[in-house]
Amino acid sequence: MAVRRREGIAGYTFLSPWLLGLFGITAIPMIGSLILSFTNYDLLSPWSELEWVGVRNYARMFADDPHYVEAVIVTVVFALVAVPLKLGAALGVALLLNRNSRANGLFRGLFYLPSLLGGSVALALVWRAMWSKDGAVNGFLGLFGIEGMNWINEPDWALSTLVVLAVWQFGAPMVIFLAGLKQIPAELYEAASVDGASRARLFWHITLPGLSPVIFFNLVLETINGFQGFTSAYVVSGGTGGPVDSTLMYTLYLYQAGFTDYEMGYASAMAWVFLIAIAVITAIVFSTGKFWVHYGDQS
């Protein structure tokens, strides 16, 4: 029994930094922000001027703030377009690379490189220049006699440049797909080929089901990430979310509310709606999983 107790004490000793962080830096601030979301806290005024405003911040979001509604739309459109395209590109290239050849190791690394660089301010700045009036994209279109535009200044197109930047970083899910493809037993393909199955049927009946746990994993991860893009939207729009709110991602608007307008109460309310929305979306993705994710019998 003494050993047990000793282990218990040791357990909590080792866990103590994490416990301190969980309560001090995560849980208590979260509860604090829930309380603040019902106030008019604005960071600049003293605490004594703090006022309880009830659900006014929440009502304002949906009834009284067109920018907020715009931010929700922009974020949902971005995620709905960027996530499937990125996963599609990742799967497509993974299938191309799924051969044992020495060169493929190098290719895999190079395809993965944008995932390491793409989230940086530096690359977002490059992106901004690349899609500007005088940028490389228009230079390329000029070769075909197409006159380009200043893509990042066009409300109809600015978000597309962010989508392309996100899709460009398909390397990380691709690497996970490649690992998943290696897990599918080769005997399955051999047996089906002997039975005369076509390549399309092999893909549809063996590859896709075999890969479905990995597709599911990537889908959850990329969906959560997709809703959180901040750096690229901030840099490409110069911090504004413009032109006319067309790149106003949710997190960018949250940043503006809290740290440009100092409306911390309102920003807290936005953060809580965001948290609940992400939780609901993740739950929906998980609940669809049982219809299309197949876990092999031999795990």
Binding site: L15, I25, T26, F230, L275
Partner: protein
């Protein structure tokens, strides 16, 4: 056919990186509407010009970034290893509950916490110091790395612990003499990703660091947005290239490890 397709795709994917590198060596009049990867009249001038384009030189920004990234690496490795050992190897009350909460924080979007944490650190008078960027890492707030290390430690044979216990080791000695030495691969993966993520991180550094002497490289690069006009494009590209050099070096040296790292955990680059 397959090879041709792969190489064509690769050309598209690598193009922006090579274009960035090439443009950083272009004189200003060559940058406009040029898809040329390499300058006709290369110049190194953009680099010194960019380096001293702000009132404080980029050397300070690089030093600030390196300090924050370096301390974050150490803090993450130490704190996450301690927590992971408790979760993976020790039996104590409510362990399952804490583990479930740890997984919960794994999925928690970080943006939810920026406002309350900012208010908290403002009460401590930590704004405009690196403390809000480092202290949370000392408290194992990067659940990803705890999870990675727990998974790794589960692969270390329990017999090794048991042998050490028979030799009279307690939980602390088992940690120091068995688990710590064997966890090196997980620590290396954690160190690499901690460094790259912190080096590239923008939002928290933008919020907490204000004065020019305190800001990091990404926040400094952001200032190029305010200086409009073609003349600043070359220096901007030069500094962007320099800012990515550390990440690129990590990529070259640890490429295989990075790829394995995301395989085992699904970490995003």
């Amino acid at each position: 056919m397959r090879k041709v397709l792969i190489i064509a795709l690769l050309a598209i994917v690598v193009y922006p990186i090579v274009w960035m590198l090439g443009t950083s060596f272009k004189p200003n009049d060559e940058i406009v509407a040029s898809i040329n990867l390499w300058p006709q009249d290369p110049t190194l001038g953009n680099y010194p010009e960019g380096w001293s384009s702000m009132d404080v030189g980029f050397g300070t920004f690089f030093a600030n970034s390196a300090l924050i990234a370096g301390l974050t690496v150490v803090a993450n490795c130490v704190s996450c290893l301690l927590a992971a050992y408790a979760f993976a190897r020790l039996r104590f009350r409510a362990r399952k509950l804490w583990f479930a909460l740890m997984i919960g924080t794994l999925l928690l979007p970080g943006h939810v916490l920026i406002v309350p944490q900012y208010i908290l650190f403002k009460q401590f008078d930590w704004i405009n110091t690196p403390l809000p960027l480092i202290i949370p890492k000392l408290l194992a707030t990067e659940a990803f790395f705890i999870f990675l290390m727990v998974q790794f430690m589960r692969g270390i044979p329990k017999e090794l612990d048991e042998a050490a216990v028979i030799d009279g080791c307690g939980p602390f000695q088992v940690f120091l003499q068995v688990i710590l030495p064997l966890s090196k691969p997980a620590l290396v993966t954690t160190a690499i990703f901690s460094f790259i993520w912190t080096w590239n991180d923008f939002l928290t550094q933008l919020i907490y660091l204000n004065d020019l002497e305190n800001i990091t490289v990404p926040v400094a690069l952001r200032n190029f947005l305010d200086s409009t006009g073609q003349t600043s494009l070359g220096p901007m590209f030069a500094m962007s290239v320099l800012s990515l050099v550390p990440v690129f070096l990590f990529f070259v040296v640890f490429q295989r490890m990075l790829v394995q790292g995301i395989n085992t955990t699904g970490l995003k680059g």
